[in-house]
């Protein structure tokens, strides 16, 4: 059973495995530097459906079904699943997954959803509450525009510094088997709000939450940045990433050599005109499943700390003049189930 080290950090006793995983992205993401690494790149933003919301549901459903079948399983073998997305009432998840007949636990962490789902799945599995547990999330450029800014039909001009929500989905199946990659430890993050109210600078709003959870994880587990091949954040962008490194440096922690940000990795910032970089639940989820997990399986990376970051505001709160609170959860994924030498 997972051991409680501190208030919010847990070390797995029998580290669960990421049994299988899958990623799907849209055309722009497919044109990016990681394009060939995803399981599917769809040129059709509607994914064969009539509306973008239905398209995103289809995107999420395809991704989780593929993750399940890549693991040699069927939907009936999945005991339950965690799913969440950016839309009101998480309709992408509910409508996308309603046909799968898999017991369903909806979660909301904005862009931190992949970390949250993975964390919950692995904690429960290590506590004996679960056999095969799925965690999936997605985001879609067009639905996010309608949700947070303006519907695309309105024809508004986007501010150059606004985040580019990725059309992407990532899904994992966690099980108690003993094969790499293993989930070794997790830290549940807390909501951090330093008063940043500018929705065009979300990276700066979310960096403090990431700084908190990374610092807490490293201190609680007595690990160093040098123990990791990569300390990964979801969508801080270039500005947020710089801020994160500085914040941690102020605490005597230097992650500059191993920090990677999925939003910066997803697109070619020079040629693809996405200014701040990619964002969205699907950004970190797809880059985790398309880039990092395969590297661990292939032996090219050993230890990663996956900290997807989420901005927890809504348009209503912003219109009322509120700032942007954020959360980030840390998930330690490793090719080894124990520290070598233990």
């Amino acid at each position: 059973m997972a051991k409680k080290i501190t208030r919010n950090t847990f070390i797995m006793e029998n580290p669960p495995t990421i049994h299988s995983f899958s990623s799907t992205v849209g055309k722009k993401e497919g044109d990016g530097p990681l394009g060939t690494l995803f399981d599917e790149v769809s040129a059709d933003a509607y994914f064969g459906q009539k509306t973008w919301e239905q398209g995103e549901s289809e995107l999420m459903k395809r991704t989780v079904l593929r993750a399940i079948s890549k693991g040699g399983l069927a939907p009936g073998d999945i005991d339950y699943m965690f799913a969440g997305d950016l839309l009101n009432q998480c309709i992408t998840s509910t409508y996308g997954l309603r046909d799968l007949n898999i017991p369903f636990l909806g979660i909301y962490g904005a862009c931190s959803t992949m970390s949250e789902g993975l964390l919950l799945a692995s904690l429960l599995t290590d506590c004996g509450v679960g056999g095969n547990v799925a965690a999936v999330t997605s985001s879609h450029f067009c639905t996010a525009e309608r949700q947070f800014r303006f519907p695309l039909s309105y024809g508004a001009v986007r501010t150059p510094t606004a985040q580019w929500t990725c059309t992407a989905s990532g899904a994992v199946v966690v099980s108690p088997k003993t094969v790499s990659p293993f989930i070794r430890a997790v830290t549940i993050g807390k909501i951090v709000d330093l008063g940043v109210a500018d929705a065009n600078n979300m990276g700066a709003a979310m960096a403090p939450a990431a700084a908190y959870v990374i610092k807490t994880f490293l201190q609680d587990t007595a690990m160093e940045p040098s123990d990791f091949d990569a300390i990964i954040t979801g969508d801080l962008g270039t500005v947020g990433s710089k801020l994160l490194v500085e914040l941690l440096r102020g605490d005597g922690i230097d992650i500059s050599k191993c920090h990677r940000d999925c939003g910066v990795m997803m697109f070619d910032l020079e040629t693809q005109d996405v200014h701040a970089g990619g964002s969205g639940c699907g950004c970190s989820a797809s880059v985790l499943c398309g880039y990092f997990l395969p590297k661990i399986r292939a032996g090219e990376m050993k230890n990663i700390l996956f900290c997807a970051t989420g901005a927890l505001m809504s348009t209503t709160a912003s219109q009322q003049g509120e700032s942007i609170p954020s959360v980030s959860h840390a998930v330690f994924i490793s090719a080894e189930s124990r520290m070598s030498g233990n």
Binding site: G26, K27, K28, A45, F141, C142, P151, L152, S153, A156, V157, R158, T159, P160, T167, D198, N200
Partner: protein, 119 residues
């Protein structure tokens, strides 16, 4: 006649360039910029300063939203002349009726003909 086109292009372009500058360098949302343009047109029109620009630049001054603000003011002036104080309430929409209806109609046509795509 060529000069008519040239000035329409220059003045219209200038008004758009101001809008783009506001988008690029300020935190103003597009909605706020558009509303500011209408209000600016109302103020300039009320002061009598906008009509000369329209006379000079034609569509370059009439098409941008500042021109719409100007139409609101001209409509009110005309209605007050014709009907007295009630014209303050009726004049604006009357003057802008053509523009508003055209906007709705063309918006509807665009929605029927075109399907939105991701950027």
């Amino acid at each position: 006649m060529f000069m008519d086109y040239l000035w329409a292009f220059i003045i219209g372009g200038l008004l758009c360039a101001i809008g783009q500058t506001l988008i690029d360098y300020t935190k103003l949302t597009p909605a706020r910029i558009l509303v500011s343009y209408v209000v600016a047109g109302v103020i300039l029109g009320a002061l009598g300063w906008y009509k000369p620009i329209v006379d000079f630049a034609g569509a370059g001054a009439a098409v941008p939203l500042t021109g719409f603000g100007n139409i609101l003011v001209e409509g009110v002036k005309q209605a007050v002349d014709e009907r007295g104080f009630i014209g303050v309430l009726t004049g604006g929409l009357t003057g802008a009726a053509g523009g508003i209806t055209a906007a709705i109609l063309f918006g509807l046509l665009a929605a029927l003909i075109f399907k939105p795509k991701e950027k």
